[in-house]
């Protein structure tokens, strides 16, 4: 066992925590935090697992860089959506039935 593997295993735990958070928490920003934590966990597995045997591997490192950018893009978009949603409806969760009517014109 190398320290890389340790980080990979820590990554699985982070995944578990993040998944739990995404499913259980209802506040949208908290879901977003959970998503980012889960993402970090996945990235740790992605880099840690292959490096367990052969030392630094630039390929997964590059993949993680790409993944981080995708994650920040998604996070930033989600924040914009959440803020606008809150602005229009006063809600910060998707659980409650909104006061506005869903759907198009009646």
């Amino acid at each position: 066992m190398t320290s890389s593997l340790l980080y990979a295993l820590a990554g699985t735990l982070l995944c578990g925590i993040g998944l739990f958070g995404m499913l259980w928490l209802s506040h949208l920003l908290r879901k977003l935090l959970a998503f980012n934590i889960m993402g970090s966990g996945v990235f740790l597995v992605l880099v840690g697992l292959p490096q367990n045997q052969g030392g630094p591997d630039p390929v997964p490192q590059a993949l993680v860089l790409t993944g981080i950018v995708v994650a920040i893009a998604a996070t930033a978009l989600a924040v914009v959506l959440i803020r606008r949603y809150y602005h229009l409806s006063g809600l910060t969760t998707l659980d409650e039935e909104p006061a506005f009517r869903e759907g198009g014109p009646e």
């Binding site: 977003l32 880099v47 993680v64 950018v69 803020r83 006063g90 809600l91 910060t92 409650e96």
Partner: protein, 91 residues
């Protein structure tokens, strides 16, 4: 041995901050803890011999995401301050 200790501590800190960020009652504090989590991740990347990711994580995970979320937290709750409609809004 010290390396193992360092790694172990780092992992424990990562897990602790992750849990704390999700379970914190106060959303503002949750985001602050999350920023700490991002910085710890940057350290973890250094330990994994991935300096590129460490730099990106420090800049993005610690910096940008944090600011973005903090800004969002301070806005959610600035309007429509309805009691009971949202949990863990601003402070």
């Amino acid at each position: 041995m010290t390396e193992w200790l360092l790694d172990g501590l780092l992992v424990a800190a990562l897990l602790a901050t992750a849990v704390a960020a999700l379970l914190s009652r106060d959303l503002f504090r949750a985001v602050v803890v999350f920023i700490a989590f991002g910085l710890l991740m940057a350290v973890a990347w250094v330990r994994l011999e991935a300096p590129d990711i460490a730099l990106a994580e420090a800049a993005i995970g610690g910096g940008l995401t944090g600011v973005l979320l903090l800004d969002a937290v301070s806005h959610l709750g600035s309007k429509w301050p309805r009691e009971g409609r949202q949990r863990g809004g601003k402070q």
